[in-house]
Each structure stands twice: as C-alpha cells, then as structure tokens.
Symmetry: C2
Subunit: 426 residues, 2 copies
C-alpha cells in the first residue's frame, strides 16, 4: 500500500492555494487523523502556477492518473466542474468539492454516479464556509423530521449589508468596499442577486427532505436594488439580511431567498460581515443554530481540508463509497409550495405626493386586498412635493400584497416610484 494518500487538485485560485497551504502546515494533524500523509501530486489550472513541478495543463491527465486516490475540484461554476466530478467518480476516484452551483444543478447525476461507482463525494465547504452544517443536517440531525431551515448563507452579501447598516454606505459603495476586502468578485451577480444563496438553500433542503429540490423552485430576490434609505429607516426595528428560507408547511415546502428585516432579538441580527449562520428546526431537536465564517481563504480551505481528511480515513481502509453519503430517493416526490402562498408581515415604503387623501387611498387599496396594517408612519424627510410613507403590515399573503402594490403603483398621479417591500422575519 502506498505511503501516502495521493490527491490531485483541479482549480488553483484563492481556496486551492489555501488548501495546499493548510495541508502543508498541518501534516502532523493529518497523519494523526488519517494514519498517513496526504500528498498533492498534481495541480491543474487554466494559468501556470507557483508550483511548476506539480502543474498539469490538462485536468484529464489528473483524472486518468492511476496513482491518484482523490480529486479536489475547486474550479467552481458548471463546466468543466461537472465533467471533472462525473469523470473522476467514473474513473474510481473519490471527490471533494466546494462547488454549490454544480451540486445544486446536477444533484441527481452526481449522487447517482457516486452511488453507481461506489465512490464518495464530500462537499461540506459548499454551504456555510467553515460551518459544518452539511454534516450537521445530514448526520447530526439524522433522526429529525425537519420543519425549517433558515440561513444567512452568503458572506459577500452579508458583508455588503453590514457595511450599509453600520456605516450608512449606499449599495454601490458597500459593494466596492467588499471587492477591496476580497469578499466580492468583479462580477458580483452570482452573490448579490441571491443565486449563490439559492444554490446553498437547494442543497440543504435536498438533504433535509431526501429529495432533489431544484433552484428553479426557489423565489429569489437579491440585494442589488436595496436602497440605503430603507436600511436606515428600519434600523430601529432590526437589521436587513439576505435570508434563504425553506419551511415545511402542510401543503408543501416553501422556499425563498430575499432580503428580510430581522428583529433585534434574533440571533441572525448579530451575524456581521463575512459570517454565515444557519438555523434548523426539527420536531424533537427544537432549534439548532450554526455560526461561523462563510467566506475567506482560511475558512473555505479549512472546510475543504477537513473533508479531505475525513474522506481519506475511508480511503486508507478501503471503505470509501461503501456507505452512501447522500441518501436520496429519485422517486420520492416532494410538494413545493408555489411562491406567494406563505404568509408574512412586510415593511412597505411608498414615495407619494404630500397632500391630504393620499394616505386613505393607499390604505384603502391595501384593505381591499386583505392586507391589514399594523402601523403607519411618515418620517420627516421631504423630497420636493413628495414624502415617504412607511407601512408595517400584519401577516399577509404575498400574492394579495403584490396585487395591492400593483394597484397602488398604477396611481401615477400620486406615486413617485415603485413601492418598496421588505419581508419581516419573525
């Protein structure tokens, strides 16, 4: 038997470099836990790398290498990531990945291939950065009937929202600040439009309910059009966070990603900067919360190396892939609640002509659509002939509310701009 676990790394960006560094620094820990060292034999990347002796131009040569036990996929995105994972499994390699996009999109294909070829795929780093929530949900709460999963699942958006809340920066400035700090990409759409959060939510929901829950079933709204005015106006009530939420109702699973106003008493309201948090509610467990860094080289790479170590313990004993990592029933049908059916309270802001009768008009339309008002206020910020009206609703169905907002928005003579609507999380 080989003296090493031999790994091939495909994708040598920030996280890939972190993985190599941690493996080098922590060989003692690795040997103590795995029984032998883990050696990265080859690294593939689009660009030449700082370790030319390990560089392999074509990732296919790494997948074909019979000496390699384990492929670490850190390419990100859909392709060639999907090909790398599928071909690795088919070539008898075990896989570690941090790629939520490819998992959420090809869940079925990836885990069926792993099962068919009796290989393991570990992906703890794909959700929640360093937080061990995949394992926590899949194993720690294995006995549970899961009722709810809610999470701050994207470090980039949480960093931006923290900057807006604490420093009063507008979205564009806060984004720039996140880019400077290395927490946002030059094209930030994947993060700020909520797609990344939706991918992670899809993974957690699929694990929780044992069936592939697709991203297309999730109503997704990002933070790019969030107005700093609303961040500041809601500050007394709580904090705005981008929340991915999956709730089991008697009619189906309700899935959404959107900016939500979080009450000050909630643990989520203290999750700042690049930190993530995941809240899970089970029938017998009650509430469980996980918290830790969701972005950054150290946390992400640490989660990948933990997977490499845990998987290597099975590779060493020739038992990797025997126990299925994801228990997943292709035939199990899960009902998904159509978006707009679940009820919530909302923060609404209308910018309207500042004259008598306008308030009664707005509240009349809300009332006619069964949207009941919990409070109404007019902050003292005039904008020419216009003024803001803030309304907090009682619990209401999203579809009723949206009908009402469409009708109000059609009153061109009194409404200056599209009404703002932010969900309030209990």
């Amino acid at each position: 038997m080989s003296k090493y676990i031999t790994a091939g790394l495909i994708g040598y960006g920030t996280v890939g470099k972190g993985v190599v560094k941690i493996l080098e620094n922590n060989q003692k820990i690795v040997v103590r836990k795995v029984g032998k060292p883990i050696k990265i034999k080859s690294i593939s990347d689009l660009n030449p790398i700082d370790k030319p002796e390990l560089y392999v131009k074509n990732f296919k040569d790494i997948i074909k290498d019979p000496e390699i036990d384990l492929i670490i996929e850190l390419v990100g995105g859909y392709e060639p990531a999907r090909t790398i994972i599928i071909e690795s499994l088919k070539s008898g390699k075990n896989v570690v990945t941090a790629n939520k996009a490819v998992l959420a999109k090809y869940w079925d294909q990836i885990f069926i291939t792993a099962q068919d070829y009796k290989k393991s795929i570990y992906y703890e780093a794909s959700v929640g950065g360093v937080i061990p929530v995949v394992q926590g949900l899949n194993e720690g709460l294995a006995a549970e009937e899961i009722f709810e999963i809610k999470g701050i699942l994207n470090g980039t958006t949480n960093f931006i929202l923290s900057k807006m809340t604490k420093e009063g920066l507008a979205y564009e400035e806060a984004l720039k600040s996140a880019q400077m700090a290395g927490f946002a990409e030059s094209n930030p759409s994947f993060d700020v439009d909520g797609i990344d959060t939706a991918n992670k939510l899809a993974i957690l929901a699929s694990l929780a309910w044992g069936s592939w829950i697709k991203v297309k079933n999730i109503a997704v709204k990002g933070i790019a059009d969030l107005n700093i005015k609303d961040v500041l106006l809601t500050k007394r009530m709580g904090t705005i966070k981008l929340i991915g939420s999956a709730i089991k109702t008697k009619n189906g699973i309700d899935l959404s990603v959107c900016p939500c106003l979080i009450d000050k008493s909630s643990a989520f309201s203290t999750v700042e900067n690049e930190y993530n948090a995941v809240f899970i509610k089970g029938k017998d467990s009650g509430d469980v919360l996980f918290y830790g860094k969701g972005a950054g080289q150290g946390p992400a790479a640490s989660a990948v190396v933990s997977d490499i170590i845990n998987l290597s313990k099975f590779i060493v004993t020739n038992t990797a892939g025997i126990v299925t990592d994801v228990i997943y029933d292709r035939k199990k049908k899960i009902k998904i609640l159509p978006s707009g059916q679940s009820k919530s309270a909302y923060y609404l802001r209308f910018t309207v002509v500042d004259k008598p009768g306008v308030l009664s008009k707005i509240s009349g339309i809300l009332g006619a659509n069964k949207v009941s008002i919990a409070s109404l206020s007019q902050p003292n910020i005039k904008q020419g002939d216009y003024a803001d009206v803030i309304i907090i609703t009682h619990e209401t169905s999203l579809s009723h509310l949206e009908t009402a907002l469409r009708q109000i928005n059609a009153l061109k003579s009194i409404v200056k701009s599209k009404p703002v609507k932010i969900k309030i999380e209990k």
Copy 2:
C-alpha cells in the same frame, strides 16, 4: 442478512423512552437513511418497564445475544455503564452512549477497546444535547489547529441561572423551579457543582488535542454558592453563565469550569434556559459557534437516535469500526497549565464596615499583589454597619488575586464575609 438492524437498549429512563418513541415514529426516515428498519429487540432496566415483551432483567443477556448488532447504553454514571460498554465492544457489538461521565473517566480504556475489537462507539449525545458538536469538532473542524473551546454545556445550571437573572429568584428557589420543570434531578450536585460541565469539557478537549485530557486537570467551581445579589448587581454589565473553557496557550492547555460574567455583546449572553452553546476557535476557521437544546427528552433522544442511524449505515455495510472514531494517541503528552496561571479580569464584591479608610486598605492590598483596579463602586445597599464594595479588576493572574483575597479576608475587623469573585469573560 437480517431484515433489521437489531438493537438492545440498556437503561430505560426519560431518554431511553424518548429513543424508543422517536425510532417508532420515524421508521420511514430510518429506512430511507439506513436501508432497513432498526428494531429494539430487548430493553433492560433496574425496574420493570411498560413494554414487558421486550424486558430483559439482566443486561448481560442482551450483551450476549448474538442477534443484537448494537447496544444503546443509557444507564448513566460510572458502573455498570463502563462494564456494559466494554463488554459490548468485546462481544463484537457496536455501541451508542450518551454517558459523558463514563467517557471522560474511562476514555483510554473505552477507545482502546473499541480499536482493539474493531467496533464503533458513537457518543454525540454526551455533549451539548442535540448540538452535533462532537462530530463538528472531530470531523467538521478536522483540519484545524484548535486554539479555544468555550461552552455553556449544562442545561440544568443554565436553566437555574436564567431563572435567577430574569426572575430575580434566589439559587434555592431557581433550583426548585428547575426540578419542577424536569431539568434538575432531586440530587442536583452533578450538574450544579460543575462536574457534568467538566466531563463534557474533558471530552471536547480530548477530541480537540488528540490526547486524553482528564477531569482532574480542570479547575471546577459550580453555581451552588452564587448569591442572587451578584446576579442582580452584574445585570447591567452582562449575564452570569457557567462556562467550561479550554484554551491552548504557549505553556499548555488552560482548563476551567466556573460561573463567569458574560458581556452583553457576546452570543453566550443570549443562551437561555436549557439551551447550550459551544464556541470553538481554530487557526484557519476562526470562530465557530453551535447552539441548541442541551437538555430535555426530545433533544437528548434525538441525538441518540441520530447516532443509531449513522452507525447503522456502517453496520448494514459491514464497515462499522473499520475507521477509528476517535483518533487518539496514547503516547502523546499534552501540557496542562496549572490552575491559576491564566489571566482574566474579575468582578469582586466585598461586604465591609462602612467607614473611611476601608476602601484604601482593600485597594492597597490588591495593588500590593499586582491586581489593578478598572473600576470601583459602592451600590447603595446598607446592611447595618456594613456596605458592599464592587471592584472590577483589569486582567490579573488568578494566583495573585487569590493571595490578595486571602489577605483581605483575614481583616476580620472590617470584612463581614468572604469576598465574592466572578471571572469576566471577554
């Protein structure tokens, strides 16, 4: 191959009954995850049980039963729990236990036996109730060099402290209230004296640093002599919680269990009632926090059943015990810091004669022992000729502080009672 995973349950108290109930209610989840049902064939307990058809008087008959794959030990305490676990492993059974006392005391014997007989022992429920922190530390943070572990690890004491803080109840009344709620035993010493917390801390520390860290190395102080006066006097600064703490310093691991004053900004200050929380700091991971119910039938039984499910996945595939659960090097020597060497700030309360010169005497003794004062106040509560003096110190070594307090306590003419000292957690 058998149509079932066949388990024997030894110990049929609150948690044992919860385990049977969850297994019955969640057979669908079990079958989906394990591939076949888990059947409890026999139950042993000192007293007759409500399922006479499963009752076996002598637990040894369960351990000897060749049909049984898995022993669930829920007896608690040291004996016969130790015998049950060791004999089960030697008889080729895998074991699930929630017993922190026996694990902390016989760590060496238990895990060496498991290794020798190639059997598995799962014990997630032994620490933090439903929180999957054993696995989180052992696997989720496998790659990490661990710097710090801090936890609210005992639901009973946290329930009592919550009652004292929120309702102003004295310790004895709060204890009674915990007993009524089912969160404290009639003899509460194990919980309130900090022994339970110390056992759990020893388990986490042993996992974190790969060596058996014994309870006797932990300086332990419970909550039984905590005065409601100090709970109320510190309320503006924070909340008093029983904290188990293990910190890696350059001179060794510093281990302690004691009531600590937690700053309001800390996540720990929001952990109420029977909830537990564990904070872990790693080199690359940064801060990770786990939170959930630490006591109660549902949460404890849920954690046990999750272990049963996870272990059964390996039993089904004949791979249980091949990968070692606890990587533990008998020869590895870990330095433990003698208690009193680590530095902290402290809250001190002196009840002294209310006349000039007393304050300068006390502060003089503190100063002479290198204990520097951050603030000093005299709350307006006279007690005859006596008054309270509250001192918050800067960071100081415990041994210096204790010398000073002994000297002050010796001033019988001015000091009414033993000075109160509560560690302040940053």
